[in-house]
């Protein structure tokens, strides 16, 4: 438990030191969302129509891009090896890293969503649903992503492979979430939200185990 807290603390500290880099996913998210009206030049109705999708695509891409950070630098400077030969259970350490990653990447997205949603003209009724999907969905992105990074961290040329491995697993989250948000004004959305919640619980229990096994394999 001590180790768990120490790792979370360490990763948050590192994010603080690299404040600018840690803010990158958020900035990226904002850029995506801001570029859409600029580049698409859509009418107001169209904008409202596509806003939820834009949100989720932005969140997904932002997470995808920040994934490497979860293990790459630890791999490069040998810290990962220390974790592997630490007497602490590896899945616990991985869980700590997933949590830290979400705190640094997912949480800011959740917090930034309301103001941006207003700018894009998302109706307030949808906003609540959007926030719920983000709260439920982004942890899954971090957890599932951890497996992908763990599998590819040993490869120099992991970048594309990582996307190839992780994206198929992300798409269900995207589909559930986007469909929940666009259904928000009227149709019932509890079904999708339950599913998102179930995915989050599932991935947070299984992903640390899978990622730990993957790390042992790929660091050897």
């Amino acid at each position: 438990m001590n180790a768990f807290i120490a790792i979370v603390r360490r990763d948050l500290l590192l994010a603080m030191r690299h404040r600018a880099e840690a803010a990158n996913p958020l900035l990226f998210f904002v850029i995506v969302v801001a570029l859409v009206p600029l580049g698409l030049n859509p009418r107001r109705e169209t904008l409202e129509l596509i806003a939820p999708g834009v949100f989720w695509i932005g969140a997904l891409l932002a997470t995808l891009l920040s994934l490497e950070r979860m293990f790459r630098s630890d791999f490069d400077d040998g810290s990962l090896e220390l974790m592997l030969i630490s007497p602490q259970p590896l899945p616990l350490i991985v869980l700590a890293k997933i949590l830290a990653h979400w705190l640094v990447t997912g949480l800011p997205l959740v917090l930034a969503a309301p103001p941006i949603a207003l700018l894009l003209g998302l109706p307030t009724s949808s906003l609540a649903v959007l926030l719920t999907t983000l709260v439920l969905g982004t942890p899954t992105l971090s957890a599932v992503g951890a497996i992908g990074v763990a599998l590819t961290v040993g490869l120099r040329r992991g970048g594309m492979l990582l996307s190839l491995l992780v994206l198929p697993l992300y798409i269900p989250v995207l589909i559930f979430a986007a469909s929940a948000v666009s259904a928000a004004d009227g149709l019932p959305v509890t079904g999708q939200l339950y599913l998102l919640g179930a995915l989050a619980v599932l991935s947070f229990t299984l992903a640390p185990l899978a990622a730990a096994a993957a790390l042992r394999i790929s660091v050897s």
Partner: protein
Amino acid sequence: MWAFLHRFASPPHFYRRAGAIAPWLGWICLGLMAAGLYGGLVVAPPDYQQGESYRIIFVHVPSAWMSMFVYVVMAGASAIALIWRIKLAEVIAIESAPVGASFTFLALVTGSLWGKPMWGTYWVWDARLTSELILLFLYFGVMGLYAAIEDRRTAGRAAGLFAIVGVVNIPIIHYSVEWWHTLHQGPTVTKLSAPSIHVSMLVPLLLMAVSFKLFYVTVLLHRARCGVLERGRNAGWVRSLLARTEPE
């Protein structure tokens, strides 16, 4: 039982046995496929709604089933390989991937060809179609990961682990038609109580399904034999095997 399995899983034994079985399975597969195609394309009557175009079902449905079946086999073999460290299971898992990807590709192509007359478009982003596409990407992921890692043992284990993770997609594919309102057909053949399909179509369909399965097993055995040879490059039995064949 256990002892038998272990003996069968020993590479030289497998190599010999597989070599003996594969041709037989191949011939049976050909026979069934011929019968199925004859039944499907000639005997079965045209559909009262869809006319002749429905006949693509005899390729589409078996290949769609196989795309999922092969994935499950691959993931199962990977789990066995990771837990009990049985080399043969790893070979089977890895060698299944390209075959499964081909079936998936076939299901996608035949499906979208069929979609044009049925739905008026080759492609829609609905749940069944999307999850099947994801399946293709998962196969690519397994193959890509295996190819990208230099050390063969590490590569096999990493790819296997990923295959196991991807198994969550299988129930999604299967239940997608029930969980979401999709354009795609609901379960017609696989409804346990009473298949809502006429016998003259059902029989060739099942024949095709069985022959596709045999095709997979045949190809897998061939591929696995090569895989076993390649992996055992330095083992004694491979050396002696090669020594025997080389002079020819």
